[in-house]
Amino acid sequence: MKKVVSLLMVLMLLVGCVSFAAAEEEIVLNVWSFTNELEGMIEKYYAPSHPNVKINYTIYPTDGGEYTSKVDNIMAAAAASDEAPDIFTLEAAFVKKYVNSPVTADLAKVGITEEDVAAAIPVMKQIGTNTATGELKGLSWQATPGALMYRASLAEKYLGVKTPEEFQAKVADWDLFMETAAEVNEKSEGATKMVVGAGDIWNAFNFGREQGWVVDGKLVIDPILYDYLDLAVELEQDDLSNKGNAWTEAWFLGMKSDTTLCFFLPTWGLHYTLKPNCGYTTNDKMNDAEMKAACEADGGTYGDWRMVAGPVGYSWGGTWIGANDAKVAAASDAKKAAIKDFILFFTMSEEFLYTYAKDSGDFVGSNAVVDKILAEGGTPNPFLGGQDHYTIFAEAANLANGSIMTDYDEKMNSLWSDHVTTPYSKGEVDLDTAIANFKAQVTAQFPELIVE
């Protein structure tokens, strides 16, 4: 008898669940991403104001290409199925691959208009746009413009520079930048170098190109890249850099000691790379006061950094939100509205972005909100000696040109670095051999491209 009763109770519970769910008529959105960043934002900001939308959040890491494999797989096999994402996030490394392919929906299909996104920072919008058709397919809640960070005390000591404006004048273009590099090396007698290595300036320099890596199915080596090689040779062979690579010991040492004057870093690089590495005992779990104390104790660089726009406006990294075309096509009007609302909430809602920027210090992707924050006096940053990082990033964000980004960037950049920049700048091969090696690799790995 007990068994029967308990079974009945379980059944009643189940029925109860089902009927409640049915009664609310909630909309379910499958969201796929590669970190829990968006999940945290959904829980904190989106869920409270959207009780009728149920988010199924799935995370696949980007390590080893797992995320893109999962997305590619489901889009190829069952794009419109219940398991497939309605909304998925796209990282800078592969955003172009998806917005240039039919798997992402034109955001106009869910009713997002030009006016809705008028305030979006142009470079992020450009990157989220299909290069061929011009359809807007991805939007971002943040912008990731880059700037040039430099050490105020070293600049004053070796260059006699007292303000960021004076420093900017010394690095306003690449020729001036190299002259300054020579000056620093000379005045410091080799103790301090301008940058850690040629790879450091790549992320900024490649934004000076007029054409991306691939135009109309053809490999394009923009002429400016040869200028980059000259620069890399000088940095390497004239002793103007520490001759190290990014993300190595030498690179991190440059952040905490006097070996390096400048770093090209974007918004996230300032907060998550430079700041936690400014001292020998600092880490990313410390707050500002703890970092300052740690640096005072053992000689770090906290508070000695300043920021300028540098020789070129650029953008490095970022995350975009896109929608699954197959699911959008099959969606009811209510669901389309929910997708539209979701995307606009995170990327354009001034109320949300303002709160989020204040809470996190992140540089948000809407000029309207950026202007509002600037009008309120910006965000004086004690790490930058009280300098406001929003002003510089805002300037850089509107300078950067996203139209040169292609689906191939990540791989091309690494092939170019492995087969051209590194061997050529170290004097291992001549230029023709380096370029030929690069082209051979491109031919082998991208059989669909025309390589001349």
Partner: protein, 325 residues
Amino acid sequence: MQKASADPAIAPKRKRKSISYDKYGYFFVAPFFIVFLVFQLYPIFFTFRTSLTDAAGWTKVLDNKIIGFDNFAKIFNFGSEISKFFWQSLGNTVIMWIFNFIPQIGMALILASWFTDSRMRLKFQGGFKVMIFMPNIITAATIGILFMSLFGYPIAPINTLMQQIGFSHSPFEFFRSTTAARGITSFIQWWMWYGNTMIIMIAGILGINTALFEAALVDGCSSRQTFWKITLPLIKPILLYNLVTSLVGGLTMFDIPHLMTQGNPNYTTNTVARFIYQQGFETPNNFNVASAASVVLFGIIVICSLILSAIMKDRDKVKSKGAKK
């Protein structure tokens, strides 16, 4: 017993007496076979099939057509880039394997004969064996990253050490030198695997009848003679096993070069497995070419293994024939 139970008259009685537990054996081995069929055998056949198709890109994985041997033609068309890089990768792999394998088997043999030598009676054998085997326990990924930072440039432990002891004045960029990069890769493979090979060798030597060693001792053989005339010929099957497993492992070498050198400098540490990975899983997803390369590699390994076992076995046969006479 099976036959007896077939007799209808005595079958019922017998059945109760001798319950066959044989079938449970199948249940115990079933998990392995199910996993093997789904995750190994099926992918192997799928690779063979994919190598004959035009499956480039995820969208074509399920929807492709057989195009014959075109992908193999790309690998054997010696003028093309794909072919050039495939064979170059194979060459790199073989070089790095040889420089790992010869010291590995040599060191393992020496250590195994020391550990089993009844005249030497080494102390703390267990401790030594553990220490020698230790590198094998750590995952290759960890070791790859470890060596990458040890041999970094311009500031890293090895460079700092070399400058402090006065060995050199300026830092040396290990991963921009073909010899150094290949050497470090071979060294890691050797260092990780000689302990493992040694354990297998010891097991092989301990399998030899001790009466043989005792007889040799009585007859006045030196340690060297015992090793060359008794130990070595008798552990030949174990040597063959080591040679073949090491060949398979060596030709499919992936993790260390992938994490430590990424094929640099100038593609000289790029292995075949990395070539396959690049074709299949870096941006372009040329699964067809990757599969064809896998099949070619598979063929090369099979042929090499057959040649090795033929070389090692023939002599045994000659000997046993001689013995019969």
